[in-house]
């Protein structure tokens, strides 16, 4: 199936843009905006407005038709397959199939101080009515908080005999999150800790990016604690079945 943008009618390719050019507003600037859109491959460009965003800056809103057509069926994205277990089921499965408490340790790492995300996953209160991992009788959850460096986090995981390490990364400016979170995996590899489950989360994270950075899974906006717990437990049970235990 070919997919094109849908504006007023199927396949018309109409899209909206806005951008700033560092030139004073003028007929010439508006023409430049039009050409800018054309260079992006747009047709029937309409520069809907030119706004004086400053003495030497013009802001534009434009519409144009794009020919871009995607072969939709051939697009593939890795998706985390998480069983949809609830609080009770998860505890029951841990009790019955693992037979001991699952240990997780999480933090918001590097210079990142945005703990709300990791708190939502780990702390009692949880997220959107879904209880956090601390609330699970069969999970032993440790939240190290903000601005934890990678080495400290891994050391703590070692100490606690953790099953899973939960890393939260919110700051993305200048790709801070990429560097810091892949560095953690590097160190874990060197430490021979790669047997642990590594989960990455944050508003700009998805499973694809998680995998690319060397994590076992990535979780984005709206993730619920029960999803995270289900994922961890599912993997642990499967591993146990295959005979891989805690290293």
């Amino acid at each position: 199936m070919k997919v094109r943008a849908y504006g007023d009618r199927r396949d018309d390719g109409r899209i909206q843009l806005s951008f700033t050019l560092p030139v004073a507003a003028s007929a010439k600037a508006k023409e430049a905006a039009r050409q800018f859109c054309e260079k992006l491959g747009l047709k029937n460009v309409l520069v809907a407005t030119m706004e004086k965003a400053g003495r030497d800056f013009s802001f534009f809103v434009a519409y144009g038709n794009s020919d871009v057509a995607l072969e939709y069926d051939s697009i593939s994205v890795p998706e985390v397959t998480v069983p949809t277990w609830d609080f009770k089921e998860i505890n029951k499965i841990i009790k019955e199939k693992i037979g001991r408490k699952v240990v997780v340790v999480g933090a918001c790492t590097g210079s990142d101080a945005h703990t709300v995300g990791i708190d939502a996953i780990i702390n009692m209160k949880g997220f959107a009515g879904d209880k956090g991992l601390e609330a699970y009788p069969w999970i032993d959850a440790h939240n190290l908080g903000a601005q934890v460096d990678n080495i400290t986090l891994l050391a703590r995981a070692q100490e606690l005999h953790a099953d899973a390490v939960l890393v939260s990364q919110v700051m993305t400016q200048r790709d801070l999150h990429l560097e810091n979170s892949s560095q953690l995996i590097e160190i874990a590899r060197k430490n021979n800790q790669r047997g642990l489950l590594f989960l990455l989360g944050g508003p700009r994270i998805d499973h694809k990016l998680g995998l690319e950075l060397g994590y076992d899974a990535g979780f984005g906006p709206g993730t619920k604690p029960s999803e995270v717990a289900s994922y961890i437990v599912d993997v642990l049970v499967k591993r146990k079945r295959k005979g891989e235990g805690k290293k």
């Binding site: 849908y6 504006g7 007023d8 009618r9 199927r10 109409r14 909206q16 806005s18 309409l46 520069v47 809907a48 407005t49 706004e51 809103v61 519409y63």
Partner: protein
């Protein structure tokens, strides 16, 4: 959240009304009544080609010739040519039936395509009416059944809370329209209006069949109404919320479209002679006659009309001419009452059209919106967004619509046409509707009970503005009463547009009724309790 549908829409009288003088309101109403009376004699004495075509449609006359001209047009044209239209098309149909046509359809075909002169009518009016009686009855039953079907689904499914979110689709292609109507409903729309193709209101026939090419909108045809209704019927079951369809009947075919809307279960119709006169240059006599008959049908069908006073503020200034909107609403109400419409079907229009650069414009909009709400408490008021002062800066325009939505919920408007951030750019893209719906949902919910918080400062600007506008409307109605409606329209009292009584399109289609004029459909509608 689902609200039980209030009996059609019943507005719970403002918790904290503006302290305006009820006596002035009553006097405005009385004046408007007399203005409408002044026009009604003319209406009673005349018929129009469109009214007669509607009578034929009501009798079940259907179809079009090879070049797409509807049979009702061919038939009425022939009667006009024969100078017999003053007797009413029903007379001629009845006469044909008394001379052998098996039903009105066959009768109409004979008239339209027969050769030679039309035979003179030899029967009495009573005989003619009697010949049509079963068909007259069937015509009314058809309207009633459509109404019943609508009311049943509506009662079963319920509607969303008010302000109802009214969205337009305007692709030109009815199948795209239906698809987008569904998407809009999925995103939260309560009401879908299919905008008509540019200038349809100026053509003196209703196109036939499904259409896929239009400009700035899609042709209003019976088949197109069906297609959209079918899509909404299906969709509303999935959504568990009754979905409403709107179309436009203002224009040269006002009563015909009203009839098609009635039998195709439309929920609302834009129906306003004043709009046609002022914004389409349709002859005032013609469209006021058409309006009366169309509203009789609409009343029976349980359809809500939408009037077009909001448009006045695109050609006239919204600060200076605010009172013309109120005055016109009083007149429109009087016309509607005259045609048997209950208040609950009068969706009087007004709009958030003040220039956005004016200090305290939000206060003036509040004043006007609350004033209209209070003066017309049972009416499903239609609240229109800013259009003229929108800009290509979609972010700014979306912000403007945010305050508009707030006024809508704060003053408990009934029907709200959602503003489009791309209003000044193009007819809405699918995503523009989505953005508008999501924005309105936020505002409506966040300010759900704001109306109950508002006690108007009696010394404040809002109250002062409301009083001023009302008193100006009162004065204007006094003038219009004196000079008469025709003259008021001609001198530009509304919308800053001047339209002489004998100017504009369609005057030739206005015909004096002869003494033996026959229109059993109208008679039946006028009997409606």
């Amino acid at each position: 959240m689902r609200f039980a549908p209030r009996a059609l829409i019943g507005y719970s009288p403002g918790v904290h009304p503006l302290p305006i003088d009820d006596a002035i309101v009553a006097e405005c109403r009385a004046r408007a009544g007399r203005v409408a009376d002044g026009v009604h004699q003319f209406i009673d004495e005349h018929t129009t080609v469109s009214i007669e075509r509607t009578v034929l449609r009501a009798y079940g006359v259907d179809g079009a010739d090879e070049s797409g001209v509807p049979l009702v047009n061919r038939c009425v044209e022939r009667i006009v040519a024969a100078k017999m239209i003053g007797r009413g098309a029903a007379s001629l149909i009845a006469a044909q039936m008394l001379s052998g046509a098996k039903d009105p359809q066959e009768a109409a075909e004979r008239i339209a395509f027969g050769s030679g002169d039309l035979p003179a009518i030899t029967h009495s009016s009573a005989q003619l009416a009697a010949a049509l009686a079963p068909f007259t009855k069937a015509a009314i039953v058809r309207i009633d059944e459509a109404r019943r079907t609508r009311e049943q689904s509506r009662a079963r499914l319920g509607t969303g809370p008010t302000p109802w979110k009214y969205l337009i689709v305007a692709t030109g292609n009815i199948y795209d329209d239906a698809e987008q109507a569904r998407a809009a409903a999925q995103a939260g729309a309560d009401i879908i209006a299919v905008i008509r193709s540019t200038a349809q209101s100026l053509i003196d026939y209703v196109p036939y069949g499904a259409t896929t090419e239009g400009f700035g909108g899609t042709w209003a045809t019976q088949e197109n109404f069906k297609i959209v209704r079918a899509a909404l019927d299906e969709e509303q079951e999935k959504l568990g919320r009754y979905l409403m369809q709107v179309n436009y009947s203002s224009g040269l075919c006002m009563p015909e479209i009203a009839y098609l809307g009635a039998v195709e279960r439309l929920d609302m119709l834009l129906n306003d002679a004043m709009y046609g006169i002022l914004f389409r240059d349709i002859n005032p006599r013609r469209t006021l006659c058409d309006q009366y008959f169309s509203r009789r049908i609409i009343a029976r069908a349980g359809i809500i009309i939408n009037t077009g006073e909001d448009n006045y503020l695109t050609t006239a200034d919204a600060v200076d001419s605010a009172h013309t909107v109120i005055a016109s609403q009083f007149i429109n109400e009087a016309f509607a009452r005259m045609a048997g419409l209950p208040d609950q079907q009068m969706g009087l229009g007004h709009a958030f059209e003040i220039d956005k650069g004016i200090e305290d414009s939000f206060l003036m909009e509040m004043a006007q919106a609350q004033l209209v709400r209070q003066i017309f408490p049972k009416h499903p008021i239609k609240w229109m967004p800013s259009t003229k002062h929108k800009s290509g800066d979609i972010f700014w325009s979306h912000r403007v619509d945010g305050l508009f939505d707030l006024v809508g919920v704060a003053t408990e408007q009934s029907i709200e046409l959602l503003g489009m951030m791309t209003e000044s750019i193009h007819t809405p893209l699918l995503q523009d509707r989505f953005v508008a719906l999501k924005g309105a949902d936020y505002v409506f919910n966040a300010a759900r009970h704001f109306s109950e918080e508002l006690l108007w400062n009696p010394q404040g600007r809002v109250v002062a503005r409301a009083k001023q506008v009302l008193s100006e409307a009162h004065a204007l109605l006094g003038d219009v009463e004196k000079e008469g409606m025709w003259s008021a329209i001609a001198r530009g009292a509304f919308a800053d547009v001047k339209r002489p009584e004998l100017g504009g399109r369609g005057l030739a289609g206005v015909i004096e009724k002869s003494a033996d004029y026959l229109n059993p459909i109208l008679d039946a509608l006028e009997e409606t309790p």
